[in-house]
Amino acid sequence: MTEYTDLDELLRTQLPAHDVDVARAAAVRAAALDELRHARPPARWAWRLEAGAMLTAGTAQLVWVVAMLFGGR
């Protein structure tokens, strides 16, 4: 829960939010909407590919260790 003091009240009432000038605000909005159009959700296959690669590497290391231990007999 937020506690309000006299000082907070004074700051809130006497320090209003100012705004960017209209042209700048419009330019930023246009650029951001352009980014939004091109933003893509993270590909589902990307993490699967990464997990597969890690699993393969882990298995190969295990095979190598077993081969080193018992391969000579």
């Binding site: 829960m1 937020t2 003091t5 006299d6 000082l7 907070d8 009240e9 004074l10 700051l11 809130r12 006497q14 320090l15 209003p16 939010a17 100012h18 705004d19 960017v20 700048r24 605000a25 930023v28 909005r29 650029a31 951001a32 909407l33 352009d34 980014e35 939004l36 159009r37 933003a39 893509r40 959700p41 993270p42």
Partner: protein, 188 residues
């Protein structure tokens, strides 16, 4: 914006709806820009940092978690951008060494635009606080965030945020003198 409204807007933003971005932009643009202007002390720098924060929101929209609190997310990004810029400026100053004159105590970015003397005094007192104190006052007192929300934005514990806020309020009250004790009686 309450949590349910945030969830709805974030859901639409994740799907790339321009209307959701517009609603957030309209609601938070002045607050975010004012925060950055008061932190940096410069309107031009606030313009650049705010622009980057909005672009990052658009870029990360599809990857936002469903329960993202938009205001907290934006203030976190904006604050991190400010810290990066401040560090770069510090390094530049150190490299320049004695070539640069000492920085004068700056007036607040809105001091000259203040509608009355009370606002002007507040802007000046706020600008005189050190950045860690100024940011927590802006987030909690001006933006009305709870100390624990501010703590998340600042990357500190809730207790540290409460202590920092108490010290910042105390400094501000000292700087404001009678104005802080009798806020209703000194309006012009």
């Amino acid at each position: 914006m309450d949590a349910a409204r945030d969830r709805e807007l974030v859901g639409r933003l994740r799907r790339g709806e321009p209307g959701a971005f517009d609603e957030i932009y309209q609601a938070l643009r002045p607050r975010l820009w004012s925060f950055l202007a008061r932190m940096t002390g410069r309107r031009d720098l606030a313009d650049d940092l705010a622009q980057e924060a909005w672009l990052r929101l658009a870029r990360h929209a599809p990857r936002l978690a469903e329960d993202t609190r938009v205001a907290a997310w934006l203030f976190t990004v904006a604050r991190n951008l400010y810290v990066s810029q401040w560090r770069s400026a510090q390094v530049a100053r150190q490299l320049a060494g004695d070539l640069l004159p000492p920085e004068p105590v700056s007036a607040g970015p809105f001091e000259h635009a203040a509608s009355n003397q009370t606002s002007a005094r507040l802007e000046r007192a706020l600008a005189a606080l050190t950045p860690p104190y100024r940011e927590i006052v802006l987030l909690c007192a001006v933006e009305g965030l709870a100390p624990r929300e501010a703590a998340t934005i600042l990357g500190i514990s809730g207790e540290a945020a409460r202590q920092r806020l108490a010290r910042a309020r105390s400094q501000l009250e000292q700087a404001l003198g009678d104005l802080a004790r009798y806020p209703g009686g000194n309006r012009d």
